[in-house]
């Protein structure tokens, strides 16, 4: 194993290398470009024995990977915002086709206004495509999530999106553990699809499906996603045993006796940890719930972590205009009607379009939360009004 200093994009590319990806198709878009370039270099150097398809658009990227996966190869790519949106119809397709594709999304706000900076609006808009969603806090986690992603994907035959924050994760340099390939091989066996395109055994895939058949086909996606909760859990635990790191579907940090729990996902969680510790040092009963998997939604863990809290504040780095932040909606939905559904769940919108979410801003969130604001509308943090 080697410990190397590198940024998030490089770490993501290494995740693909260690997973022995066989085909990658890519199209550059800031802030993901480093992944594409790193992959090209890995392939050219022979470190990664794969085919690198330089596509002419993200729509073609996903179309190529769908086909490559159907023909039996392990496939990988990365994109951001506009590119992710451009391949949207194919995201549905990949999930419906039950293909274990792993894709890294480097968060970037959706234009217009035109921007390149970080927020989650790109990825949460893909929430309903049927992919698993993993939100990474830091770069080692991203590399690890890619490896775990393939392991989970190839058991449930669903695609996995691994999300990292643009700029905060992608361009931040950290020390990253690059595991030995053989060790990863012990964790992640070669890809053996149950059905693939092969002239030796011809199959026709995805002919028109009528109303009398469609629901059951979609239901199988539902079942697979349900089952992926356990599979993801097991994969994470096994990873922990082999590599010494485990992340869980969620992480409850200092929640046991917390009165107020802050909930978030992504790099923001790193800042939240610091702030929580500061407040705890002042004697405040405050905790943090990191949501790592948005899909499948770990409702049980979320309810458990929030069981004893008196107040919940969800900080979203995205907004579904007209309703509020997506994590806020998901958490409220999970708590509704449960034993943990007895407390106010507040929603906060912060950090859109790359605006830094500082400890000061989080202090403001905590203050606002304690002022018992109305629960039914989200509060915009540090908005210039």
């Amino acid at each position: 194993m080697e410990r190397i200093i590198m940024n998030g994009n490089s770490a993501a590319a290494w995740g693909a290398v260690l997973s022995r990806v066989q085909v990658t198709a890519a199209y550059p878009i800031s802030p993901q470009t480093g992944i594409v370039e790193a992959l090209a270099e890995h392939v050219a150097s022979g470190r990664l024995k794969a085919k690198f398809i330089m596509s002419e658009s993200e729509h073609s990227v996903m179309a190529s990977l769908i086909a490559a996966s159907e023909a039996g190869a392990r496939v990988f790519t990365a994109t951001s915002s506009q590119g992710l949106a451009l391949m949207h119809e194919l995201l549905h397709w990949a999930a419906g086709a039950r293909l274990p594709i792993v894709m890294v999304n480097v968060n970037r706000a959706m234009s217009a206004p035109w921007t390149m900076y970080c927020d989650q609006s790109d990825i949460v808009a893909q929430r309903d495509t049927g992919w698993l969603h993993v939100y990474c806090e830091q770069n080692q986690e991203t590399l690890d999530a890619i490896i775990q992603g393939f392991k989970v994907a190839e058991q449930v035959m669903l695609p996995v999106m691994v999300n990292m924050d643009g700029f905060y994760n992608s361009y931040t340099t950290e020390p990253i553990d690059i595991y030995d390939l053989e060790r990863v091989d012990g964790y992640l066996p070669p890809y053996k699809p149950p059905v693939k395109l092969d002239p030796e055994e011809p199959h026709t895939l995805h002919g028109g499906t009528g109303p009398h058949l469609f629901m059951e086909m979609r239901y199988q996606n539902w079942e697979a996603m349900e089952h992926s909760l356990a599979v993801a859990q097991d994969a994470d635990e096994e990873f922990g045993r082999l590599f010494g790191r485990r992340y869980g579907l969620t992480e409850a940090y200092r929640c046991e006796d917390a009165e107020l729990v802050l909930v978030s996902a992504g790099s923001l969680v790193g800042t939240l940890r610091e702030v929580i510790d500061d407040h705890r040092a002042l004697g405040e009963k405050i905790g943090l719930l990191k949501i790592r998997y948005l899909r499948p939604f770990p409702a049980k863990e979320v309810r458990q972590a929030l069981a004893s809290a008196r107040q919940v504040a969800v900080i979203d780095r995205n907004v579904s205009v007209g309703m509020g932040g997506v994590f806020w909606q998901e958490v409220r939905s999970a708590l509704y009607g449960s034993e943990s559904g007895d407390k106010p769940v507040l929603g906060f919108i912060a950090g859109l379009g790359g605006r830094d979410v500082t400890p000061k801003a989080i202090d403001q969130v905590i203050r606002l939360a304690r002022s018992n604001p109305p629960q039914d509308v989200p509060i915009w943090v540090e908005l210039k009004v």
Binding site: A97, R98, P194, P202, L205, L213, E216, Q220, E223
Partner: protein, 446 residues
């Protein structure tokens, strides 16, 4: 959701090819992704059909024009497939004197030939002459319970033809010829140079040898009537006469055969007793012989004539059709004549190379000195120009162009799978030679 066993349902390795629909009852029957489990053979597209295409051999204009009732297209195509003997048999079955007609006929077949409208008519007479040199067998007709005694006076083309067909039908034939050599008007005359004596002798010998008694010397028609059931021959009035013992008595026939310029093309009006040309004489005698024989076998003559006629003319008949009638064979063949407007000449150059079985240069068996191999080769190249009007020659167009692959081919026969044929009738539209007909599905009687 409770913990339950999670399955990735995979499809069977073999695609189901049956016509039974696939039923997926519960989620457990479904494959985990939308992969096909069976073939569209379960979709019987034949039920869509409004028009039904079917193969039906039709009559070529050369056949319809031939006074002898030759199956011209049949023997040409059979020869081109390399089945020389069968081609010669087909020729000889209808025409006992092909070496003669190949050289002395006025060739109405060539005038009717559809190829004239494309470039040049086929030189059918040359093909006939070449095939006349091939070893052959006379067709085998069923024997007669009561064979008749037949006297033939003279040995011109009509008389030889009558004698031949009576002998073929197992009657006892005696031919009376006043001259020292047989042949009548076939010897000498303006066209004699086209028919060398040696060839004429050999041809007549083929008809006579071992089948027909010949008596040289004068004979009298009325004398013969006393001793024979049938007398056929030329009268002093220069008209052919047919006497049949019984109520009909003497039946006057058309005038003696005359020399006609080869290929002059004028049409013969058979209702008027005008002079017959060589092939017309042969054809007339054949018609008379078959008509008589049908009556003797207890068949209705006019019904029989209707069944065995060729190309719409009641006086031109086919011996092969008669044979099929007597032996219970299939004589279902449309006598609809394929005129030029019914052909699809533009489909000939679709690039489909015509399939010809053997090298036309190969010299056939028992060539009796008529032509050397170069001639035969040249003649067969000429035969390859034949469009095979109304008769399938396995050009494969129907098989090639069917969008649904419902036409299969097996040893030169094509079959339409009516479970799946949608009735688009493209096959009919691409058949250059009008072999495929279409009919409204509900009118099909099978």
């Amino acid at each position: 959701m409770t913990e339950k066993e999670f399955h990735i349902h995979t499809p069977p390795a073999e695609l189901v090819q049956s016509q039974k629909p696939i039923v997926l009852d519960t989620v457990d029957d479904y494959p985990y992704k939308s992969v096909a489990l069976g073939s569209t053979r379960a979709n019987l597209t034949g039920l869509w059909r409004y028009w039904r295409p079917f193969y039906q051999t039709k009559r070529a204009p050369c056949d319809a024009a031939c006074p002898v009732g030759n199956q011209v297209v049949d023997y040409i195509q059979t020869a081109l497939e390399g089945h020389w003997r069968q081609a010669a048999n087909t020729l000889r079955a209808e025409n006992p004197l092909p070496a003669v007609t190949g050289r002395r006929c006025h060739r109405p077949c060539e005038l009717a030939c559809n190829r004239r409208r494309v470039d040049e008519r086929i030189a059918i007479h040359d093909i006939e002459a070449v095939l006349a040199e091939i070893e052959y067998e006379w067709p085998c007709f069923p024997t007669h319970e009561q064979p008749r005694d037949v006297a033939v006076m003279g040995s011109g083309p009509a008389e030889l033809s009558f004698a031949h067909f009576m002998a073929l039908l197992h009657h006892r034939v005696k031919l009376f010829e006043a001259a020292s050599a047989l042949g009548g008007p076939l010897r000498g005359g303006a066209q004699a140079r086209h028919l060398p004596e040696a060839i004429l002798d050999a041809e007549i010998e083929r008809v006579i040898a071992g089948r027909i008694q010949v008596q040289h010397g004068p004979a009298n028609f009325d004398d013969l009537k006393a001793g024979y059931d049938v007398v056929f021959g030329l009268q002093a009035t220069d008209q052919l006469a047919l006497y049949v013992s019984g109520p009909e008595g003497e039946v006057p026939g058309p005038a003696r055969p005359v020399d006609a310029p080869l290929g002059d093309g004028t049409r013969q009006d058979t209702t008027i007793q005008t002079p017959l040309r060589v092939s017309e004489a042969i054809g007339y005698a054949k018609w008379a012989a078959l008509l008589l024989d049908a009556g003797w076998r207890g068949l209705d003559p006019s019904d029989t004539m209707a069944r065995i006629q060729v190309g719409g003319s009641s006086r031109i008949v086919s011996a092969l059709k008669y044979l099929a009638l007597l032996t219970g064979g299939d004589i279902r063949r449309s006598e609809e004549v394929v005129t030029f407007d019914k052909l699809r000449i533009e489909m000939l150059d679709s690039g489909a190379a015509p399939k010809r079985g053997t090298d036309p240069q190969a010299v056939p068996l028992a060539a009796t000195g008529h032509a050397d191999s170069t001639d035969v080769g040249r003649v067969m190249l000429e035969a390859a120009r034949c469009l095979s009007c109304g008769r399938c020659n396995q050009c494969d167009n129907c098989w090639i162009y069917c969008p649904d692959a419902v036409i299969s081919r097996d040893k030169g026969l094509y079959q339409i799978d009516y479970d799946y044929c949608k009735g688009c009738s493209l096959c009919a539209s691409v058949c250059p030679r009008a072999v495929i007909s279409i009919i409204e599905e509900e009118k099909w009687s099978g």
